[in-house]
Point group: C2
């Protein structure tokens, strides 16, 4: 069975779990605490040299990391990935859009607020300046999504693809980075549309782990 190296509150891990639940595909889940030094250990570096989650071990022992690459792998020849080459290229384009304009901005705002703590403020206020800048860039990324979704139900074609699932995650958690989605009605309708799909799972709705590390 495929095995997911997973951390519950990681948005990138949630992307992979969403894809798996939409596919109804069973998997073993290894629960990792990203905030210990385990992901920097030799044991985990053998799984992912970058020391990041998620990673997916295939049945043949091959390991894939990076949520976008894993999502693409899992959905070839399924309805979550277009059958035509230009459609697949558009999916890759929007997966990269997510990484550059959403994850590193809207996702980074969440990271600063929830993980670096202090509501994005440090003593010198330097962190709060960083937060304001990633929020500004995040609104640019959200504006691009809003434009794209203004006249469409999903990012590519007529149905949900991994481009939607991967862009969904950090946008759905924008409030955790103190970012308001009120100016983005098309995005809010799209979030609700995705959450109504039968394969949808909340971030914390996960199968029991087969292993915990460390």
């Amino acid at each position: 069975m495929i095995r997911l190296y997973d951390f519950i509150t990681s948005g990138n891990c949630w992307k992979v779990r969403l894809v798996l639940s939409h596919l109804g595909r069973p998997y073993e889940r290894v629960e990792i605490d990203r905030f210990t030094s385990y992901t920097r250990s030799a044991e985990y570096r053998a799984i992912n040299p970058l020391g990041l989650v998620p990673a997916l071990r295939l049945e043949d022992g091959r390991i894939l990391h990076d949520s976008a690459a894993i999502a693409f792998y899992l959905t070839e020849d399924t309805s979550l990935l277009p059958a035509d080459a230009p459609g697949r290229a558009e999916v890759i384009q929007w997966l990269i859009y997510e990484q550059r304009y959403i994850c590193e901005t809207v996702g980074m705002a969440r990271y600063i607020v929830t993980t670096l703590g202090k509501g994005g403020l440090d003593e010198a206020g330097a962190q709060s300046e960083t937060l304001a800048e990633v929020q500004r860039l995040g609104h640019e990324g959200l504006a691009g999504l809003e434009t794209r979704l203004a006249k469409r139900d999903f990012l590519i074609g007529a149905g949900c693809t991994i481009a939607d699932l991967c862009n969904y995650v950090y946008v759905a958690m924008a409030d955790q980075g103190n970012m308001d989605l009120a100016p983005y009605p098309a995005i809010r309708r799209w979030l609700a549309r995705l959450e109504a799909l039968p394969g949808h799972r909340a971030m914390g709705d996960v199968p029991a782990p087969v292993l915990r590390r460390p």
Copy 2:
């Protein structure tokens, strides 16, 4: 015929031109000056809403942007992209590696030195601090490539793929960001290996443009 919106000194554009020359695929080239306001014009925003090059117009009028998405599209069912799903996922993984750990670091160092000018120094020295930081991150990215290439001729499988061509570009220009490749013998052998392939073209070796903008 497919049409490439192209800027000669853009590394991301060179990636696409390399893929096209390896494929021996004819294309129309529109030469754009990235440093004018043309890429922010309504005319160009209709081609790429992000205002970036490269963009590729397909025969049916559809437009793809993002070098990785374009490279993937052009090479489906060719030897530059693996035929098996895990191999294709590994390619995507290394395309994203390039964007995050090479283009935004080694490529950014080149941008600071050659485009922002002043050899990476501004009056307050702030730019030089940024340069030192992106160079440091760039060396981390190069170290990851060096490890991967220590026992392999190419990043994935036994032959050249778009993962190699896309990672090649900014690494080959590392010296323009004042970054030395001397510590990376496997990378230097890999660069020479890629440059010896019959499809290789230098950055400035381009077909005549059918149009110039602006």
